[in-house]
Structure formats: C-alpha cells, structure tokens
Symmetry: C2
Subunit: 109 residues, 2 copies
C-alpha cells in the first residue's frame, strides 16, 4: 500500500514552488530536500530536510498556497500524502500528529 | 471526568510566566486570555485567545520553558491538560491534533 504513495525525483528538481496551490504533503524516505523562500528575485534557503522529515503540510492543513519552494538536493524517494490519506494516517497513527506538532513547535521558537 | 480538569481564574491573573517550566496545556472553556512576551522589562502582547482556543502546548510537546506568559483578561474557566491526559486525548480524538496542527501552521505564516 505504501508503494502506491512512493514517488522518486532526481537531484535538483522542484517538488513544488512557493505560491502554488497544493493538496499533498511529503515524507522523505531517502535523500535530502531544500526548502527555499522567494524574496524578490532571490531564493533564500530556509532549511535542509532529510530522511524521516516531512514538508508541504501547511498547504494541506490550511488549504492555502505553498509558503516556500521545495527542491531535491540529491535523488529522493518521497511518500506523497494527499488530504484523504493524511486524515487516514492521523486517525490510525495519532502519534504521527504528535511528532508533527512537536516539529511545528520547534519551528515556532 | 472533564470536571476534574476544570480550573477557574479571576481576571488579571497569570496562568504561567515566560521562562517557567511547565507540563500542562490549557483549553479555554470561558473567558479570554492574553499571551505576553517579555522583551527586556516590557511585556508585549502577542495574541488574545478566547473560548475554544488552547495555549501552553509548546512546553508540553517539547519539554522546554514557557515561550511567553499567559494572563487572564476576564474571569476564566480553563481545562488543564497534563502530558498523560494530552496523550490520551490525542489517542482518542486525533482530530484534536489536526486542529492543533492547523493553528500552529497559521501561527507560522
Ligand atoms: N522555516 C521553515 N523550516 C522548515 N520547513 C519550512 C519552513 N517554512 C516552510 N517550510 C516547509 O516548506 C513547505 C512549503 O509548502 P507548505 O507551505 O505546504 O509547507 C511548508 C513547510 O512544510
Ligand atoms: N505568537 C503567538 N500567538 C499565539 N500564542 C502564542 C504565541 N506565542 C506563544 N503562544 C502561546 O503561549 C504559550 C506560552 O507557553 P508555551 O511555550 O508552553 O506555549 C505557548 C503558546 O501556546
């Protein structure tokens, strides 16, 4: 079942771009992903994420445009989680929500 | 059972202060609470929360000191949720975690 959600990207590929609509979040199974903010014409790196990290949750949770871009730094294998899968995932594994809450709190500090 | 968790505060009372250790979060059942950041000698208001809102989740999730102070603006009735109760609450009501995730994302924007 997880296999259905797996997607692979070569290095240097945009998974999505800031400002786009998006209804999916991603969990990194393999590789590294850079989060980039568009400031005028420049792209400013915000974070580098790795195996086990997630991104793209904000658009999924709030139904608002992507707050930043995500680009692969290495070849990546990702799990692509749409809203429905997200709801199922949380319902069956509430501890995932707690891990996500922890990460967001950490980012707020 | 919920009654065991209820606490009441008069107006103008600190529920907790920035920098303190804390292992409880609060859900507002009645009243309004102001979140205040200590900047040098000044207290800067960050947010006013009301019925249905929660606060104090960051210390509970991360086991770190309070990032801000919380003071009642009106007489308040709060639910006081310790770590164990929090874990039970989320396990039995994962949608609460999703609502909390949404709030934190909103605060990150
Ligand atoms: N400062 C940050 N640190 C780490 N990740 C971030 C940061 N800002 C945004 N993101 C992630 O980048 C994603 C961009 O798309 P979303 O807004 O859907 O969700 C966002 C978060 O997952
Ligand atoms: N900018 C903010 N807006 C709303 N609530 C906040 C803000 N910053 C901190 N808080 C809340 O204030 C609380 C202070 O204690 P905690 O750090 O445990 O958890 C914090 C959050 O619940």
């Amino acid at each position: 079942m997880l296999e259905d959600l797996q997607v692979t990207y070569p290095a240097g590929t945009y998974v999505f771009r800031q400002g786009e609509a998006g209804s999916e979040m991603f969990i990194i199974q393999e590789g590294r992903v850079e989060i980039l903010a568009q400031k005028g014409r420049k792209e400013v790196p915000l974070a580098v994420l790795e195996e086990g990290d997630f991104f793209g949750e904000m658009a999924v949770l709030e139904d608002l445009p992507r707050t930043a871009s995500a680009r692969t730094l290495t070849p990546c294998q990702l799990l692509r989680i749409d809203r429905q899968t997200f709801d199922q995932l949380i319902r069956h594994n509430p501890e995932i929500a707690v891990r996500m809450l922890r990460k967001l709190c950490h980012r707020l500090r």
